[in-house]
């Protein structure tokens, strides 16, 4: 059952099942409900801590909405099944954690190359390898960006609370559909298991986007063309008699493989990049607090953005002109905004639960005369307000 064209029935079911209001729930559950409101009706996954509650919630709720839950034999099969289902028109999702995310990387590249919309939630846990399996971390920042091989663009979002996770998951689906691309949600084991207030809205408050479909036979013959000049080709779904050919090999606009003509590869891969780079308005999102007059800028993301805000508020109470910049879309990184903010401050602190990952992106956009310092903590325990405040005081 495809939600597109079935909206009245889906709205009736959503209203009947999920009364608007405040609920006390885990971040993982908020992700799952976000997906259900976004129109996700296919989930394929494999159990892994700390993401499993997303699978459990989807397994319980999807059948009520006429959707499909599949538990696959491994993570590789999970993302493979999602891609297959996406080509039939379903909105698809999986959730995993570091090790599973690593296993999915090859097919994430396949999804980027074949322009297959999907949402992949990585509930980050402490690595490398099995690491501290039950503990949260922010160590997959670059796995999301560069985990699969070859030049490829990617969009990745990172929510900062349960409520945020609900809306950001919806946004992830809308971006995936709008740009015909895989979207990663970088969640973490701490927010995933934090129970907090999440307001479930009425379905009318949720905006839904659908992927472009071919308007005529001509468009259907070019599943990898650019008929509208925005870099996003309409998607001729399977089962409609279009005889679509999809391959991860370098392909021409008509989908047929051509790995021998340098220009074909150049044209395809550059368009894939252009599609993501030129459509920043579709996905770029960040939050700012006190950046207007800040002298010390804290740049943080995901779970760490919360103690970072606490620290900035306390610093302000102490008369320190601190500000906070939180990229909500972490890939592609909001570099131009970072560059502008970097020109106005004398010090930048980057707190994150790793040994320095997002700081490398920040570094690309700020001048050498700005003091740039990481505030790094590993071990599975989140940074505290006090720990970040101490660093702010240190550069004040």
């Amino acid at each position: 059952m495809i939600i597109r064209g079935d909206e009245p029935e889906q709205i009736r079911l959503l209203r009947k099942l999920y009364k608007p209001g405040n609920y006390f729930m885990q971040g993982n559950e908020a992700v799952a409900y976000g997906a259900l409101f976004a129109g996700c009706r296919f989930y394929a996954g494999y159990p892994i801590t700390p993401s499993s509650e997303i699978a459990e919630t989807m397994a319980r709720e999807l059948p009520k909405l006429g959707g499909y839950y599949l538990q696959m034999e491994d993570e590789i099969g999970s993302i493979a099944a999602m891609i297959g289902a996406s080509w039939t028109g379903l909105k698809v999702m999986t959730a995993t954690s570091g090790p599973g995310f690593s296993l999915m990387q090859e097919n994430l590249g396949y999804a980027a190359m074949t322009e297959t919309p999907l949402v992949l939630v990585d509930v980050q846990r402490s690595g490398p390898s099995t690491g501290q399996a039950t503990k949260g971390a922010q160590g997959d920042f670059f796995q999301a960006r560069w985990g699969t091989h070859g030049d490829h663009p990617i969009v990745a979002l990172s929510p900062t609370s349960g409520q945020d996770a609900f809306w950001e998951t919806i946004r992830a689906f809308n971006i995936a559909e709008r740009l015909r691309t895989p979207v990663v949600v970088l969640f973490d084991g701490i927010l995933a298991h934090t129970r907090e207030l999440v307001k479930i809205p009425d379905v009318s408050e949720v905006e839904i986007t659908y992927r472009k479909l071919p308007r005529n036979e001509e468009e259907a013959k070019l599943p990898f063309g650019d008929p509208h000049g925005d870099g996003v080709p309409p998607m001729p779904l399977f089962g409609h008699g279009y005889f679509t050919h999809v391959t991860g090999s370098t392909h021409k606009e008509n989908g047929l493989r051509d790995v021998y003509t340098p220009e074909v590869h150049d044209r395809l891969v550059r368009r894939l990049h252009r599609k993501i780079e030129k459509n920043r308005h579709v996905y770029e999102k960040y939050e700012e607090h006190f950046t207007d007059d800040a002298e010390i800028l804290v740049v943080s993301w995901g779970v760490t953005a919360r103690p970072a805000l606490g620290a900035v508020l306390k610093a302000r109470e102490e008369g320190i002109k601190a500000g906070l910049f939180v990229p909500k879309t972490v890939h592609l990184f909001p570099g131009e905004r970072m560059r502008k903010l970097g020109k106005k401050v004398r010090a930048i602190l980057v707190p994150e639960m790793n040994l320095g990952q997002m700081i490398l992106e920040v570094q690309r956009y700020v001048n050498d005369d700005v003091l740039l310092k990481g505030v790094n903590k590993i071990g599975g325990v989140p940074l505290t307000v006090e720990e970040i405040l101490r660093e702010i005081r240190g550069v004040a």
Binding site: A44, P63, E73, T88, G239
Partner: protein, 284 residues
């Protein structure tokens, strides 16, 4: 050019002419498999619009993709069946067919093969077993016969091959058959059955790769390999009365299983109905 070459071949109507000629080597068994598949589709009068063909990586993944004119999904190495699983769930009324090789489906993709059979999802798999990794230059595969010479077993293969059909039958498939490229009519009949049966079906086709396998094992001519298949083929009814020692080096051919078992997408949709009923979600 392609048009002239293929104009007398009746099955060309099922092929993407702009993609021809095929990339297969002269003497490859892949053409026989494509021909058998096209004939099965033709005899069953299946509209190609109702077909989705999925393949993985390797020579045998090229047999139908991109050549067969249907929706074709050419996936990553080993994952064709998992991709096909998603396609079938989304399009339960279409026929979803995987055509790929032994290395792709039984080695790197072996896990998906076993579990798709266990789920008994209505996918037809044509597994072309040429005993070798052909595209990468003739390396040993988990299907390579004991003692055979390959580029990575230059002295002899010390491993014993996986019995793919027996494995898939044991895992729970509705239908399993094995033939060789020397048994074309039986092969067409089995593909037809596989396409018709509800549930997971596997047709294993023992196929010749004279370039990468035969050449290094004293059978450099395709015909020599076909004669080898014929000489060593044993019908399954006869094989059941033979000892493992007697069956060493033989190709057991025929139907391994043909049975009715609950099918996955039907069960999945039945479950959705039940849950919607249970929670009072059906529209009155």
């Amino acid at each position: 050019m392609a048009k002239e070459i293929y104009s007398t071949y009746p099955m060309v109507k099922y092929l993407r002419k702009e993609a021809l000629p095929t990339a297969l080597c002269p003497g490859c068994g892949g053409g026989t498999v494509l021909n058998a598949f096209a004939n099965a589709v033709d005899q069953l009068k299946i509209d190609p619009k109702d077909l989705v063909v999925v393949s993985g990586i390797g020579c045998s993944a090229w047999i139908a993709s991109p050549y067969f004119l249907a929706d074709t999904l050419h996936t990553t190495h080993g994952r064709a069946i998992a991709f096909a699983t998603g396609v079938k769930v989304g399009l339960p009324d279409k026929k979803v067919v995987v055509i790929s090789g032994d290395g792709d489906l039984a080695s790197i993709g072996g896990n998906h093969l076993i579990h798709a059979a266990r789920r008994n999802i209505d996918i037809t798999v044509i597994l072309v077993n040429n005993f070798i990794y052909g595209m990468t230059g003739g390396q040993v595969a988990p299907t390579t016969p004991f003692g055979a010479i390959t580029t990575t077993t230059p002295y002899r293969n010390i491993e014993h091959p996986l019995n793919v059909s027996e494995t898939v039958a044991a895992a729970g498939a509705s239908y399993v058959a094995r033939w060789t490229t020397a048994h074309v009519y039986q092969l067409i009949e089995s593909i037809k059955k596989a396409l018709t049966v509800k549930g997971f079906s596997l047709v294993e086709v023992i196929s010749q790769c004279p370039v990468q396998f035969g050449r290094r094992n004293r059978m450099k001519e395709p015909a020599e390999m076909l004669r080898w298949f014929l000489k060593n083929s044993v019908p399954i009814s006869k094989a059941r009365k033979m000892s493992p020692e007697e069956l060493e080096g033989k190709f057991v051919i025929g139907e391994f299983v043909s049975r009715e078992r609950p099918e996955f997408t039907e069960e999945l949709n039945k479950l959705i109905d039940e849950v919607q009923e249970q929670f009072g979600l059906k529209e009155v």
